[in-house]
Symmetry: C2
Subunit: 162 residues, 2 copies
């Protein structure tokens, strides 16, 4: 699924928060497995993101193909610590295990998770920093609303005033 609402929650151990609506098929998969992957998509994948975000895996149950990876021809590779596959062509991948917090899951569709492994495309991330210059098609993608997206822009260092 496309999941635009997510953020860091802690550094050590690394944790994230993400909103997963009750009506999504992904929600069922996460609740059964206790794990999920965040695949960070890039500019080149915008139409793919719109597609997986505009249809539900519920509609594919019992069909052939029975999953969105096959239905949208998404190549994947294996994760290291969870069972969910990772999507090729993304620029970063976070393997996550749910921290059970049933009250906020049920009330707000909000899931907290520990990041148990993480990967990034070295063309745009190395030595702990992002460097998208010269790779506009790999810039991260940020959904605003209704199919309108923004890519991440200029990188710069701020200075602390004396």
């Amino acid at each position: 699924m496309a999941a635009a609402w997510n953020m860091p929650l802690d550094f050590n151990p690394p944790k994230i928060a993400i909103v997963i609506d009750k009506k999504t098929f992904t929600r069922d998969l996460i609740e059964v497995s206790g794990s999920f992957a965040i695949n960070v998509p890039c500019r080149a994948q915008a139409d793919m993101v719109m597609n997986v975000g505009s249809s539900s895996g519920h509609e594919l149950v019992g069909k052939d193909p029975d999953n969105k990876y096959a239905a949208f021809n998404l190549p994947t590779f294996d994760a290291s610590k969870i069972k969910a596959p990772l999507v090729e062509g993304c620029v970063a991948w976070l393997e996550c295990k749910v921290i059970p917090e049933p009250h906020i899951q049920n009330t707000y569709d909000l899931f907290l998770a520990e990041v148990v492994a993480a990967w990034a495309d070295e063309r745009v991330f190395s030595d702990g920093r992002w460097h998208f210059e010269g790779h506009d098609e790999l810039r991260t993608l940020h959904h605003v609303a209704g199919g309108a997206f923004m890519t991440i822009g200029e990188t710069f260092q701020a200075s602390r005033l004396k």
Copy 2:
């Protein structure tokens, strides 16, 4: 304070989630008042954001000036539904009332809040959409780590494949 980790949580009523560390003075203010403002800063304010994010209001208690607005010469204007002042020069402002969830506040420093009023600079936001073209200094600011920031970049519409 500078608070980089925040995200939408719901549309109707509008809610947000935000991480506010226990050691911040802002945390005390939020817990006493039950409300806070999110001031969305822009490229032109990067050094100001570094400053307010690199010092604590705790250090100013009992001093003159006794608050960061005065210490950093930040002009403000009144909010409509909360007492916290809003910072001039930002591009959007969210007036928020905390939804009490003591367990996740204490365990994860995670606060949920309802947005009770919201405003944006019409030069870059109108008719429900952002349009930063021609206003690079007003592009929203996104902290990565260690004073490294990115601004928001290109806007575009994705298409759903048939």
